[in-house]
């Protein structure tokens, strides 16, 4: 399928090669760190939680899938290097236990990622990560303040907002240039780096928060989650351009993630975990498959079974990856209060309005693209059918 002789694979520029090697090495080191940590002086500084381990593996898989099979305009070596380098950076972010150190590394990763040439200027691209780092660092520094009490609550709010800012969600939206390469756009944060943060940061932060602070943290996530869900589903349906529609669909997915995380229930956390895996392994690859149509601004009519299948998949119908997310989230929300479940249901119903629109942009690729698309569908099916096993693998 992927020919080594194909022109797009022929040249492997050394920086990309080193980036890839570095990324793989960092990931391997982090994944084995849990076993080695007791033998090293880093005992409390480095630890990978179960969900973090799974999301790293998933991210590496997504990089290989999209690099090898998605349609691209630029060298696949370049993409592979950048992708694996990003996975390495994610691995470090996931492994560091001190949230302040995570904030500092966020600055480094944000600036490092933004230095890649192409698309928007660096100064614009680093705004999100820098603001997220500020909120995380300040929130963490002041979370222990018990007097005055309101300062602790503000710190908890700041911690929750840091996650929102890192992912580029409402109200910290980032500009998306339709012509900007996908890897350079802010969707790389929304669909790649931020899921790793969302899966590890709450586990590091929550034990340190007082009940009052935890309430603020959770309520902020739930509130902004609902806002993003609504904004995402309505925006993806009503917005003028297909690129914006895709961006809004990421917001909707993140809305479910935030509500699930903010409910502090096992089912909610599992829903968030599965939704994040679906973002990395399904939505992001599908977005990359849609890129050629988005760039050419030509969208064929949805006729073939594959396109409708993609629409159904994106709508979260059973037995695809969106179904367990919805079920677990409804379970957690119903236990919290039925009005919350009603709001989520409304969002889930509106979800279908944009699914066909997005499926239209994916179209029915041929050859290597078709293989990749079918693989993505199969991955979504696996995430939906074996969600219990995948949840157990993360210890949730």
């Amino acid at each position: 399928m992927i020919s080594a002789q194909s022109p797009i694979w022929r040249r492997a520029p050394p920086p990309q090669l080193w980036l890839a090697v570095g990324g793989v090495a960092a990931t391997a080191a982090v994944l084995s760190a849990s076993d080695l940590s007791y033998g090293l002086p880093l005992r409390d500084l480095v630890r990978v939680p179960g969900p973090g381990r799974i999301i790293l593996i998933a991210s590496a898989g997504a990089v290989l899938l999209t690099t090898g099979l998605a349609p691209h305009r630029i060298s696949r070596w370049q993409l592979l290097g950048a992708g694996l380098g990003a996975v390495g950076a994610m691995a470090v972010l996931v492994a560091i236990t001190d949230p302040l150190a995570v904030a500092l590394l966020l600055i480094l990763v944000g600036f490092g990622w933004a230095t890649r040439r192409g698309g928007r200027p660096l100064a614009i691209r680093v705004r999100g990560p820098a603001f997220a780092a500020l909120l995380l660092g300040v929130g963490w520094a002041f979370h222990g303040t018990t007097a005055p009490e309101w300062l602790g609550r503000a710190a908890a709010l700041s911690l929750a907002l840091s996650l929102v800012a890192a992912a580029g969600l409402f109200p910290y939206l980032q500009q998306v240039d339709p012509d900007e390469p996908a890897g350079y756009s802010y969707l790389a944060w929304t669909g790649f780096f931020a899921p790793a943060l969302a899966l590890t940061l709450p586990y590091r932060l929550l034990p340190a928060l007082t009940p009052d602070q935890a309430t603020v943290f959770g309520a902020t996530l739930v509130g902004l989650g609902l806002l993003n869900l609504g904004w995402g589903v309505v925006g993806a349906w009503r917005t003028d351009t297909e690129t914006e529609a895709w961006r809004c669909s990421f917001l909707a997915d993140w809305g479910l993630v935030m509500v699930g995380t903010g409910l502090f229930q096992a089912d909610g956390l599992a829903a968030a975990y599965l939704a994040l895996l679906a973002i990395v392994l399904v939505r992001l690859p599908l977005y990359l498959w849609a890129r050629p149509a988005l760039l050419q601004r030509e969208f064929p009519a949805v006729r073939g079974p594959v396109s409708v299948l993609v629409a159904v998949l994106l709508a979260g119908a059973a037995p695809f990856s969106g179904f367990p997310v919805r079920l677990l989230l409804l379970q957690a929300a119903t236990r919290t209060g039925w009005p919350l479940a009603v709001l989520l249901l409304a969002g889930m119903v509106l979800w279908i309005a944009h699914s066909l629109r997005l499926a239209r942009t994916v179209g029915s690729p041929r050859g290597r693209g078709a293989l990749g698309l079918w693989l993505t569908v199969v991955i979504s099916l696996i995430l939906g059918m074996f969600s219990g096993t995948i949840r157990a693998a993360a210890g949730l």
Binding site: L104, T115, A123, L134
Partner: protein, 179 residues
Amino acid sequence: MIATLAVAGAALAWVGAATLLLSDDRRGLAVGLAVVGMGLALSTAAAGQDRLVAAALALGGVGSGALHLGRGTHGWGLMRPGATPRVIGSLVAVILTVVVAGAGVHDLAGVARLGGLVVAALAAGRVLTVTGRWVALGAGSALALGLGALGTGPALVVAAAVAVALGLIDLAGPAEAAA
């Protein structure tokens, strides 16, 4: 005496951050970074942090400043026309920070944290408003130093390393046109 040193360090850090905020050329940026590093190091050392670690912070600031000397336009570029909002912003930031977070200051560590917070706030403000590549990098270094000063031990070292690493970015590369 130690309390005075802590307050002086925090004040120095604010001066550095304000310099960074008000400067549009490389000398101002470099000096601002160096002053931020030294001020925060003084403040954190006075607050009881390991002196070696505090020295690392100073080294990070100075090193980062030195690396930033290698790019951008020559000169200080301080308080160019149109900088009035930034002047007001640097003053408002320190007042607001003291009013809001000052309530939580009960010891010298709190003072050092206040200094770090002022630096982080001003640096973040710079990152969010600037459009030039190298100015953003300098502000990022300052942000790292400020956030590092909010923590203890390893965080200070990591902050210094991040500040220096940001200084290394694009050192030899072509400058990007400001958007």
